[in-house]
Amino acid sequence: MRCHEAEAFLAPQMSDAVDGVRQQELASHLASCAACRALLQQEYRLDRLVKAAAEHNVPATENVAAAVRQGIEKETSKRRSPMMFWRRPAFAAVMIAVLAGGLVTWKVTLGNPMHLLCADAADDHRDEVVQAQPRRWRTGPEISEVASRAISASVPANAGGLALTKARICELQGTRALHLVYGDAGKQISVFVMMQSELPRWSVPSSRTRDIHQENDLGMNVASFSTSGFGVVVVGNDGVVRNAAADLLHTM
């Protein structure tokens, strides 16, 4: 061990940072190095000086102790104040009302993941099916291939009495989705199928309850549910949406 290495560990406080092997090396070095031994002396002296100096000008504890007791008494009497008793239930009632109102608002509007997914699906149906914006759709035998790629499963040929006509892969709420279109120009519904594990939490009802969530998005009927590891959203502008959702819930 060299002097510059030993110097780092001479301070008394450094002993708990030195392992057994290093301690041996340090002891051997000190046995043969007068300069480091003198430095060690300095370290102990430094400790004594710092400890002695630190005691200088320390305020008396009595004043601070009295101030602390006063502060504690003030806190204690504040907590015991009769005025606080009626304020707390009132405050609690206000908070409960605010939270309940917020929860209701959240369930039906912005921020609700279920609503966001339904709204996204409704937008896609409006743009790509109702307004027929150009998209690359797969038809016939290619539908199975697309389904296999998107959700590694086959899809029902019918839903709500409507036949499957085309499919494509898209994204809803950042989740890969298989967009299926059932029906033809007169009556069409979109069915979006996603892997439930990839969906944001609370986006679809629990598969245990087998609930079908329904809402209306600017005149568009939307239903969502989960089954067999899939989250499904059905969109259309007439009453067949509910029947199609119920059909799919049982067949998927």
């Binding site: 708990d16 031994r37 400890k51 630190a54 200088h56 305020p59």
Partner: protein, 173 residues
């Protein structure tokens, strides 16, 4: 109130002002009283209190007005003799205090907790919520700064005595 003196001793050197130190300690004790349900019995109460003090100091007392406060005048400080009693080794308290006060805050905190309050590096690391390596580094730099300012003679001059010092025999290796 058992550790009040230790808290005041640390606070005075951190704040460099007596009234601010008293305020800091008062706030520390009140916060400790409010959070006492979180204190785990059988653990080091002094370390817990100093951790609260250091947190408070970091949160609230590093404000511009604190920096502009004039440091305490040490006044007629007594002379301190070195352990060997050699006249040319005298170091005055005010010099030591001035050196400590001039240290950067992080180094000063580590020095006070380890040297003055006697905590191990591991305990200092837990109190300050700082990695042990950082604590060691800050302590090393603080001590080097104090040595450079306080000890005029280089170590090799003292080594001319040619005997193994007592501290070497006592050092726990």
């Amino acid at each position: 109130m058992q550790h009040l003196h230790a808290l005041l001793r640390t606070a005075v050197r951190l704040c460099r002002h007596q009234h601010l130190a008293e305020d800091l300690v008062q706030e520390t004790m009140l916060r400790a009283w409010k959070a006492f349900d979180r204190y785990q019995p059988q653990t080091n109460c002094k370390a817990w209190l100093l951790a609260i003090l250091m947190n408070l100091w970091t949160e609230e007392h590093r404000k511009p007005r604190s920096r502009n406060e004039v440091p305490e005048e040490v006044g007629n400080a007594p002379q301190l003799r070195s352990a060997s009693g050699m006249a040319d080794d005298r170091v005055y308290v005010r010099e030591v205090l001035a050196c400590i006060d001039e240290l950067p805050e992080e180094q000063r905190g580590v020095l006070l907790l380890s040297v003055v309050e006697g905590f191990s590096l591991r305990e200092v690391s837990e109190i300050l919520q700082t990695p042990m390596g950082t604590v060691m580094s800050r302590l090393g730099r603080a001590r080097a700064a104090l040595r450079a300012r306080l000890f005029a003679r280089p170590p090799i001059a003292a080594a001319a005595e040619g005997t193994v010092c007592d501290a070497m025999k006592q050092k726990r290796f």
